[in-house]
Amino acid sequence: MQTALMLSVQSILIEGRGSSLIVLLLVLVLFYAAYSMSKSGRPPKMRRLIAIDAIEEAVGRAAEMGKPVHYTPGISGSLSSWQGPQMVASISILGYVGELCARYDVPLIINMAQADAIPLMEETLRLSYLKEGKPERFDPKMIRYQPSQSTMVTAILGTFQRERPAANMMIGGLYYESVVIGEAANFIGAMQIGGTANTHQLPFIVATCDYVLIGEELYAAAAYISKEPMQVASIASEDWIKFILLAITLLGFILEVVGIPVVSSFLKW
C-alpha cells in the first residue's frame, strides 16, 4: 500500500526536484519541532537585529527635531512577482514604523511605485495608527505613489530637499535607487536604515546606511519585532535547517573528492 503510494508519487515527481521537495518538507518538520519546543516553555534565544532596534531611535530623533520620517520599499516588484515577498516584508516593517510615528506624532512620508501594493500598505498603516489609539492621525496621502522606478527616484530627490526628513528608511526589493536615495539622504544628514535581499544592492546600502538588514534578516525582521513564540520558533528552525544543509555540504565536499557521489546524486534527484 505504502510502496504503491510512493511509486505513484515518484512517477509524477518532476526529475531533479525531489531533493527540493525533501528540503521543503524538512523545513516544515523543523518548524513544527521548534514551535512545540517554544510552546513548552523553552523558547530559543534570538540575537539582536541592531537595524530594527535603530528604528525607534530614528523615529525618536525625528520627533526631537520636529521633522518627518521617510520610508520607501524601493521598486520591489508587484506582489505577485518573485519580489512580492520582499514587498510584504517591507510593508510589515513599515507597519511598525507607522506605530512609532503615530506614538511620537512624527509625520511619515512614503514614496513607492508598485500600484498593487497600495491597498496592503494603506490598510497596514491604518491599523498601526488605530493600534496607537490615533486613527484620526492616519492620512492616506502619506502614501505617495509614483508611476515608475525613475520617477520615484526623482520624487524622492525632491522630497528630501523640500521636506528634509530626519530619517530615511529604504527597506525592500531595492534596485538602482538604493545608491541615489542613500547619498541624497546623506546630503541632508538623515539617519539611514536600509535592508534588502537583492545581493547586487547590498554594497550600496552598506556604504550609505547607518544600519542594514541583509538578505535573510529582512524576512526575519517582522518576527523579531513581534517576539511571539511562533515567530521566534520559525527563526530558530531557519538556523537548524541551515546547519543541517551545511553539514551535508561539508560531507559532500569531502566525499565527492574521494569519488563517492552520494550527496550530489541525492541533490540531483
Binding site: 512577482s81 518573485w82 525613475s150 534596485y175 547619498e183 546630503f187 547586487h200
Partner: protein, 288 residues
Amino acid sequence: MGEKSIWVKLGELDRRVLYWTLFILLAVPFLYPLGLPVSISETTLTLYNYIETLGPDDVAVVGIQAGVSAWPEVLPGLVAVTKHLVSRGVKIIFWGFYTDVDMTMNAIKARVPQLKWANEQVGSGDYKYGVDWVYIGLLAGGEAAVAQLADDLHSVIKADKFGTPADQIPLLQKVHNAADIALVVTSDTGDYGDYYIRQWAVRYKTKVAEVGIAMNYSTFIPYYNAGLAVGALKGVRGGAEYERLIGSLGEGTQRMDALNVSHLLTIFAVLLANICYFMTRGKKGGGG
C-alpha cells in the same frame, strides 16, 4: 579650535566639486579618444566560439529586456553579437519584454544594415524579413510567458510586430519550442536572464548567453560555471571585447575611454579619501 588642516578640508570636500569634476572629465574622451587595447574575457570568447559553430540552419533568439535607458551599457554588445550572427547566416528572431523595445530594435537595425524590413530592397548578403529574421515586438507576462514560449512559441506569438499572422511567416514556421532554438541572447537590466536560464536552459538545454548590464554579468557567472550559460558579456566592456573579436570597432570601444577616465577618477577619489582619513585619524581622538 584652530585652522582645519588641508586633510580635514579635503576629506570633507563638498560633493558638488566631485560631481563637476566627473561630469567635465567624462566629456574629454569623446573629444580626444584614447583608444587603449582591450583584452578578451573568457566568457566573451566562449560565446564567440559558440556562434562560430552555428550556421544558416540554426535559429537564434534575441530577447531584449533592457530599455533605451541602458543603451550606453548594452547596445554595443547587442549590435556586435547581432553582426556576428548575421555574418554566420544564423536566422534571428527578435522580441522584447521592455516597453520601449521598438526603439532598441530600430537602433540595432540602424547599426546592422543587412537587416531589411519587408518593404526594403534586399541585396546579396542581406537578411530578408520573415525568412532570415523576424521581429515580434513587445511581449508581456514575466516568467510565465518565458516558460510558455519555451513550451510552445506559437501559443504566445500569434503574429509579428506588423500583425502578419505567424503561420504566414516562414521563419516562425520552422520553430516550435525551445529545442528548435540554437541560442538565446538575453539582454537585461532586470531578472529575465534568470527566467531564460530556468525555463529554457534548464528544461530544454537551450544555450543562453547574457548581453546585459555588468551586474547581470555577476549573476550569470554561477550559471556559466554550472554550464547553463554559454557565455556572458560584461556590459559595455563585453561589447568592446566582442567588437574586437569580430573586427568591427564601434561604440563599445569608444565608450571604454570614458570608462577609463571615470574609473581612474573613482579610484583616485577613494585613495585620496583614504589618505585624508589616515592623515587625520589620530588627531580626532578615537573614532576608529
